[in-house]
């Protein structure tokens, strides 16, 4: 996996599309993915170093080719769920999952009424908007504001399941049963930490 990441970075540099804005947002943008693949500290340093020494030149938007190949979703369990990102990139538009944070303008007219010209967000990782701690005080108080429009953002776990399963059911393909994604499914009460 680590080699895959280094090669991704190298692809960016070879494409000559990295500039100072990428440098600035590099850590924000790729950081969450790095966390998701559980890279060790020295490896993170190495990638960061690679980012810094890469030549500066072009656009800020993330291209499809730049997207990660595979993402391991391990925020909730040590047994990660492997997500073939490249497979999804090949037939779905970025905005279908990433809403308005990357790719073109959203297809949903409701979203488009505000996010048409929003442009690329600093971060495209799910966990940056969908909180892991769904019922944490910070998240609840953020949502429970009378002046806020988005009072209904599901937590990270809800976002994963809703996003994956709704689409898989709609298109009639892709895993929908628990065991299809979770290797050893075990129903148990909520874990309180």
């Amino acid at each position: 996996m680590a080699r895959k990441w280094i090669s991704s970075i190298v692809v960016i540099s070879a494409g000559g599309k990295v500039d100072t804005t990428i440098h600035a947002t590099c850590k924000q943008k790729w950081g969450p993915f790095m966390k998701q693949v559980n890279t060790t500290f020295p490896l993170s340093c190495l990638i960061l170093l690679l980012c810094l020494i890469l030549p500066a030149s072009a656009a800020a938007g993330m291209d499809r080719e730049e997207a990660p190949d595979e993402v391991f979703l391990n925020s909730f369990s040590d047994v990660a769920v492997a997500f073939d990102h490249q497979l999804h990139v090949s037939y779905a538009a970025c905005v279908e999952c990433h809403h308005h944070t990357t790719g073109d303008t959203p297809s949903d007219p409701v979203c488009n009424s505000c996010h048409r010209s929003g442009g690329e967000a600093d971060s495209v990782a799910c966990r940056d908007c969908h909180a892991r701690d769904r019922f944490g005080h910070d998240y609840l108080s953020k949502l429970n504001t009378t002046t806020r429009y988005h009072i209904d953002i599901p937590g990270l776990k809800g976002a994963y399941h809703l996003s994956c399963m709704r689409c898989h059911e709609a298109i009639g393909t892709g895993p929908t049963a628990c065991g299809d994604c979770h290797p050893a499914r075990k129903i148990q009460g909520p874990v309180r930490k």
């Binding site: 769904r134 019922f135 209904d152 399941h161 059911e169």
Partner: protein
């Protein structure tokens, strides 16, 4: 909402109810109030379009409330084919919540629905209970106190959703068993109930009831094709803390659409206001009538003074 009744308020309400009858007003006017729930009342929004029938909520509830282990495990989805006396499973003394599968004609896949206490804003169980075993807490939970319960089971009849169940199996500790919104262990600490936390699809959303209504309206507005335009529980039974959104007409998902929009207590308020009057005034009133009639009757049947006494007086 009558939460605590002490001697003074009880007598006061009796006197006022009796007085109101005497001055010719209806009892409803005398005790008119529109209770729309506690300000900070919590609730849960159930989105049926999201539920996938994994039964995680059932498992979490079982664990949190220390209920007995079920005969059929929580990962056994064949339970959806199981039928109870009413066709579908119902919450009972071994399970405060159950998930049932429905086959609405508008969908090509089953629709799952979780059943538990809806925690009404003006609970019928509470108003039916004559020993005040039920309490509606400011957080929104309807909780039950087994220590004062006499086991009359009136609450089971009163509940429009048939939720309270009786633990017949225990000869020495019989009691009502129902969902208490995880009040003791969670809600009182401002934590979501176990079922909500366990739901992987976020079909259950926990929050202030007012916020949940806003969220529900948002969803109805943003996805008009995904739902029928109705929030079940907003007004049903006078409003419930648990609210529902459904992709099909609620009747197709097994909801009782005959539940009235006002609290059940409203249907018996007039009658109940008469009860104290009957208990306090009627005994005296009718005892008085009886004594009066007895007295006048006695007077009426009193034998007349014998005529021949005058003859005696004549000294004949």
């Amino acid at each position: 909402m009558k939460l605590r009744v002490n001697r003074r308020t009880f007598l006061g309400s009796m006197v006022s109810a009796a007085a109101s009858l005497f001055v010719g007003q209806t009892a409803e006017n005398a005790s008119a109030h529109d209770f729309t729930g506690y300000e900070s009342s919590k609730g849960v929004l159930v989105d049926l379009s999201r539920c996938v029938g994994c039964r995680s909520c059932e498992a979490a509830c079982n664990k949190e409330q220390g209920l007995p282990e079920p005969e059929i495990g929580f990962d056994d989805l064949s339970i959806f084919k199981q039928t109870g006396p009413d066709g579908k499973r119902r919450p009972d003394d071994k399970a405060y919540t159950v998930v049932n599968a429905y086959d609405p004609p508008l969908l090509d896949h089953p629709l799952f629905r979780k059943i538990q206490c809806n925690h009404c804003l003006e609970p019928a169980c509470l108003t039916a209970c004559f020993v005040n075993a039920y309490t509606k807490t400011p957080e929104g939970a309807v909780v039950y106190n087994a220590d004062v319960c006499v086991g009359c089971r009136t609450c089971m009849i009163a509940c429009p959703f048939s939720i309270p169940a009786f633990r017949y199996s225990s000869a020495f500790h019989p009691r009502i068993m129902k969902c208490i919104f995880c009040y003791d262990s969670r809600l009182s600490k401002n934590l979501p109930p176990a079922c909500v936390e366990a739901c992987p699809m976020e079909a259950l959303t926990f929050g202030d009831r007012k916020t949940l209504l806003r969220i529900a309206r948002n969803r109805l507005r943003e996805h008009p094709g995904r739902y029928v335009q109705h929030i079940y529980g907003e007004f049903e039974a006078g409003g419930t803390s648990w609210l529902y959104l459904s992709p099909v007409p609620f009747a197709d998902a097994g909801f009782d659409m005959h539940v009235p929009n006002q609290p059940i207590i409203n249907y018996v308020k007039d009658f109940l206001a008469v009860v104290p009057m009957v208990l306090t005034i009627w005994p005296g009133l009718f005892a008085g009538f009886y004594l009066l009639s007895r007295r006048s009757g006695k007077a009426a049947i009193q034998p007349p003074q014998p005529e021949d006494s005058s003859d005696e007086n004549t000294g004949r």
